[in-house]
Symmetry: C2
Subunit: 152 residues, 2 copies
DNA sequence: AACAGTATGTCAGAATGCTGACATGAGTCA
DNA sequence: TGACTCATGTCAGCATTCTGACATACTGTT
């Protein structure tokens, strides 16, 4: 059982992956008793904050492909958590809405996830939280620009 | 095509997931031409920095289950990138080693991944990098403690 | 020495997500 | 109007990872 730090600990990329992995595990742990997966929860939370999001938009927001989100949405619709108009009004986009049942199901999950985030923020001061916010945004922007650069 | 920021952007957890997702995508993009997956690369990199790691230790380092790492290791062994002793000397642990071929294959991948990390660090000052390092470690520690707490 | 507890390697089945592909509708430009 | 491009929803097949399970080996306790 050797658990001393690897040299990779000096890599921000590795740290990022590690933190994300830990966060995901913690979320899965609190969502499992509710019979909910992380993507499942992300979908509901996105719909609560932005009613009318389409399948593709939800997929982008939950960091999965639109195909994956589609099967999830169909299940959620079948089980009565969300509704989608039978026919699209504009283009092929069919905006999704939470049902009261979906909203209720989200409430407990949202509280559970909030507790995880509070745990994660631990004893961080508001200043530290602000710098974390700032630094993560910097990384995201830098990586996104790299993608665009390679596309031309 | 509505791409304006969601309210969730104020959540550090969401930002973390976003950054991690972006980083993973960027790594996949540069590793694909080399016929290598992220877990594949992680395994080789870990072995280069810490020769003799066992299957389970590699799994933890690459953030996958030991079962997943096992199938990868078997493939890598079959293709001559790593070697493992046919019989364990102590317990069931069989330490893995990179072959020259594995080391060579890693070289290009390592350079590619380094370029991604440089891109990610973008115009970040050394101070910002240090705070990023610090803040991510804080989050990781807080989440890990939460896990231990729930185990008792 | 016997025991429980824990960690490991490994196999098999299940779940989840992804890639490929297709048809449809909107926007653009000649 | 017609051709081209792009985004969307959706289906099918594939890949990767995970969960469950088992045998084995070390560790510490009584």
């Amino acid at each position: 059982m050797s658990q001393e730090g690897i040299h990779l600990e000096t890599s921000l990329g590795y740290l990022l992956k590690q933190a994300s992995s830990e966060l995901r595990a913690a979320m899965e742990a609190v969502l499992r008793p509710l019979g909910m997966t992380v993507t499942h929860y992300s979908c509901l939370e996105l719909l609560a904050q932005r009613p009318g999001l389409s399948n593709s938009e939800l997929a982008r927001g939950a960091f999965v492909t639109r195909q994956s989100m589609n099967v999830l949405l169909q299940a959620l619709e079948r089980d009565g958590y969300v509704t989608r108009p039978t026919e699209a009004r504009v283009g092929r986009v069919s905006p999704a809405q939470l049902t009261p049942r979906g909203r209720q199901s989200l409430e407990q999950a949202s509280a559970a996830v909030r507790s995880v985030e509070v745990q994660m923020l631990g004893g961080m001061t508001p200043e530290e939280q602000a710098t974390a916010h700032h630094v993560l945004n910097r990384m995201i922007r830098a990586l996104r620009n790299a993608d665009e650069d390679s596309l031309e």
